[in-house]
Structure formats: structure tokens, C-alpha cells
Subunit: 293 residues, 2 copies
């Protein structure tokens, strides 16, 4: 930890280009990379990324304007690119496409017909064709990943553990369908499965259903579980948790949250722990399920 | 069709007791049974069932007051009971429990810890212990069930058929987790999976996500698919569709809806067809998947 990159004798890779989606992760990654002594060049996505990113060199861009990124990243000497942050799947019809993107359109359109994984894989290949190396945020900032065990003092109960196991088994079953990476289980009952709406929205739904008396268990029971999809390209789109996730589970009246250790990106761990302690919920890294039952 | 029950030489079963949840199905069942010449005695659940049911003899009751049903149904000579209509899983803590229900509580509480199937199975057993025979709505009104093929003139396209297959495979995978019976797939992508929120709510979510531009496909693509859970007790809790479902898929910008033929209860088929034609969406009964892949 803490040594400046790179350690394998390869020629220095220049500044790290970071394509920044929404949420607090992009800034956390930029901070961590630059703390480790490497320059960063940020490409925040207009409409998604946070203004605070502007404390670093930034080129804002609009989805569909890939040509600008290639040119500017190359001019700055970047050879490695990281994708980080949330990006909702936009409607192709709403994008303003530049020439580079237009030429790639048939390939992207094919990718659009599949789920998210296909889309991201298609985009990744575009960058690789342009000579960039796509790296995972966790490769440049290894301590971004959730460790095994509890963050903070709260531990899941035996009942919570059973709910976690059930949710992991469910996510293993839905994984092949390239669907969301999260589910909520309480007392053995599956309360929600995430698809396009995303985790925050799913938690708001639980909160609403609970308020309407449509959830049987008492407040403080039930677990949000996040897991990577089987075969997911971990260079982008690893599941992530952040302070907002903790506030979300507290608002939904759940007992805590579990995510797969070593395969979940953690934004602002100190703030996560602060909020978890204040709300009395647990946050735990668990091993991946060995094999589907 | 049309002949008065019963056809097997058994002694007449007396009036049919119908426990009525929400939605338009209970009235449709009561109408159909009484058209077939059999008396009905309705037990609408307070807070869920429709006032219109009062055109038949009715005893409103509160969930948790099972004793009243047993007594009144027995006094009226009922020996068969049907459960029909939507009932959200109530919080045990909110129920006012009568003595009969209280005595059964340990058993019900055990059932509560599982998913819906367990709960309903537990309730069913209570009725059977009291000497009633629980029958499926489709046993007393066979033409309640969705036939194979399209209702109305619209047919699913080849692309819709592929989405239907994918959704059926997904529902087969989630079935063992006793989770919802519906999913939305568009162009190969899983947009939503139903859990506790129910079909109408899931469709509202799709409508909202589409309005926010978070759904890639054009309006008029995507299919709602409903299927029974594997091993589900078909005497209650078969998936159902009604006019509201059709309005829901139209509002969500989907192309149509598919459900498993012979295993889906249809409320108000004429009105379903009218709304489907007006909205330009298809409604189709499809065969169950033979085996999980």
C-alpha cells in the first residue's frame, strides 16, 4: 500500500484518465489515486457527475461524445482509463452522437439489445481498439474494496445470516439473466429484487411498503445484499456501497447490509461507519457463495 | 360449461363461501358461480375488498378474525371455500386476532417466517382442520382461466416471443425463492422483477423510469410476463390479470402481456380485450416452460 505505481517494471502509464459517472465514488477514486502520487485527468459525464470533481483537471463530456475523450486523453499522455460511478442506461435516441461514436454505433446498438454487461463490454472494446488499457478502479486503488467482516461495531444476527445466505442464493440464480445485483430479504421472505431501478430506488420502495403496513417483519429486520453478477467484468460495474446506501437501509427499516468482500467498491468508508453506528445498522463483507445450490 | 354443479354425483356442497380480497376478481367469480346456479356467501376482507360485492349475501370481516368465518359459513351450510382476490401480506402486529386465530397463531407465525406460499398453505390447513374443503376458483369457474393464444387481434412479434421466453426462464429461476410471479423484459433486458410490491406497482415503476429516460427501448416494446410459482398450490394465489393490468402495461409503454395458459385467472375478459385493442397491446396465453434450462 502507498507505493507509487507501477510496480511491474512497465513504462509509466502517464496520468490516469477517469471517466466519472454519478455518486461519490469518482471523487474518492481521484483522491486516492492522486494521494498515491499519480496524476489524474477526469472526464465527468454531464448530467451525472458531481461538480466537486472540478478540483482536478477535468473535461466534461456528453454521453455519445467518445471522440473527445480519446483525443484529449491521448494528448495528455494517458494510456490507462478507469470507469467509475453510476451511469443509468440512457436511451440511444436521446444521445447526441459524435462521429467516433456514430461509426461505432452498429456495435453499440448490438450491445444495447443485451443487458448492461454487454453494453459495457462493447464500450470497453471501443476504448481498447483506440489503444487504451481499461483498468478497474480496484486495481489502481486496492483499498477501495470491501474487506471481509463488519465495518463498525454492529454484527449480523444468526437470523440476518440466514437472510444473507438466501439473498446470495437468489442473486446467484438471477445472475445469468444479467439483472441487478441486489436484493432485500427479511425473515426468509424476498421483499425486493433490483433490476433497472437501482439500489436507492429499491430501498425507497421498501420504505414506502413498510409505511403502508405491507411488510410483515418488525423494523430493524431484513438485509440488503449486493453481489457481483457471475462472469461480470470487474473493471467496471462492480457493485458499490456508500453513505447513501446506509441511509437507504436505515430509511427502509432494515437491520443492515451485506456485500461480497473483495468484489464491492466502498465509497467513503469513514462516513459509512459513522452513519451505520448512528442508525444502529450493520455493514458486513461476506464471502462469495462457493457454488449455486 | 354452463351445466349446474356438481357433476360427480357427490352430495350438493351447499352455498359456496368466497373469501374476497381486493380487485375485480372476487365479483367476477361470484357472478360466474351464481350464473351457474349455485348460491354464494361472500366474506369480503375489510380494507381490501370492493363494496360492490354487497349485491350478494356478505359478511365483512377483518383479517385475524377467522373464527367468525368458520361459524357463519357452517351456519349457512357451506362446505367449500374459495379464496380469491389480492391480499397483501399484513403485519402480524397490526392484526386484531380472535380466539380461533390466536389458538392457531404458533402455526401461522411459523408460516409467516417463510414466503407467501407457506403462509397461504398454513391458512388453508386451518380451514381444512375445521372441516371445510378449500377449492380453487378455477375449479368452480373453469372458464376463468386464460386460454392459449391471443385475446383480441394483436399478436406478439418474434422479438416479443424472445422476451417472453427470457422472462419465463427468469421466473423459473426465481420460483424456488417463493418470490413474485411477474417480470418485465424488453429487447432481452430484464427491466423489473416483482416481489412484495405487486404487479401494478411494478408497472408504475417502469412507467416512471421510462419517463426519466432510463429505459433504452422505444415505447411499445417489452413484455410483462406472469407465471405461477413452481409447486404453487393452485387453489389460491394463481397469477391473475385484469383490465387494470392492461392499462398498466399500456401506461408503462410495453408492447403486451403474456401469462401461462391454464394457470392464470382472468378477470373481466371482455374489458381486457377492449382496453388491449384501444391501447394497441397484445394479451397472450403461452404454454408453461417445460423444464428449467
Amino acid at each position: 500500500m502507498g507505493q507509487p505505481a507501477p510496480s511491474d517494471g512497465a513504462p509509466p502509464a502517464g496520468p490516469l484518465a477517469i471517466i466519472c459517472g454519478g455518486g461519490s465514488l469518482p471523487l474518492a477514486v481521484a483522491d486516492a489515486v492522486s494521494r498515491r502520487g499519480r496524476e489524474v485527468l477526469l472526464f465527468p459525464v454531464r448530467g451525472f457527475a458531481d461538480r466537486e470533481l472540478e478540483r482536478y483537471p477535468c473535461h466534461w463530456f456528453t454521453l455519445g461524445q467518445l471522440g473527445r475523450i480519446f483525443g484529449r486523453a491521448r494528448a495528455a499522455g494517458c494510456r490507462e482509463i478507469v470507469f467509475i460511478g453510476t451511469l443509468v442506461r440512457p436511451s440511444l435516441l436521446r444521445l447526441r452522437l459524435d462521429w467516433t461514436t456514430l461509426r461505432a454505433l452498429p456495435r453499440l446498438a448490438r450491445a444495447y439489445r443485451g443487458g448492461d454487461d454487454h453494453l459495457l463490454t462493447g464500450v470497453a472494446r471501443l476504448f481498447e481498439d483506440e489503444g487504451f488499457r481499461l483498468v478497474g478502479a480496484h486495481e489502481v486503488v486496492p483499498d477501495l474494496l470491501l474487506p471481509e467482516g463488519a465495518l463498525g461495531t454492529r454484527q449480523p444476527s444468526a437470523r440476518d445470516r440466514a437472510d444473507i445466505d438466501r439473498a446470495l442464493a437468489l442473486l446467484a440464480a438471477t445472475g445469468p439473466f444479467d439483472v441487478g445485483q441486489a436484493a432485500v430479504v427479511a425473515g426468509g421472505q424476498v421483499l425486493a429484487i433490483e433490476a433497472v431501478e437501482g439500489t436507492d430506488r429499491m430501498l425507497e420502495r421498501i420504505a414506502a411498503l413498510r409505511q403502508e403496513g405491507r411488510i410483515a417483519g418488525a423494523a430493524g429486520t431484513g438485509v440488503l445484499v449486493k453481489a457481483p453478477k457471475p462472469g461480470q467484468d470487474r473493471r467496471f460495474d462492480l457493485p458499490s456501497i456508500g453513505p447513501q446506501t446506509v441511509s437507504g437501509i436505515a430509511g427502509a427499516g432494515l437491520g443492515g447490509l451485506a456485500a461480497v468482500a473483495g468484489a464491492t467498491v466502498v465509497a467513503e468508508p469513514e462516513e459509512i461507519v459513522r452513519r451505520a453506528e448512528a442508525a444502529g445498522v450493520f455493514v458486513v463483507g461476506v464471502p462469495a457463495r462457493e457454488a449455486p445450490r
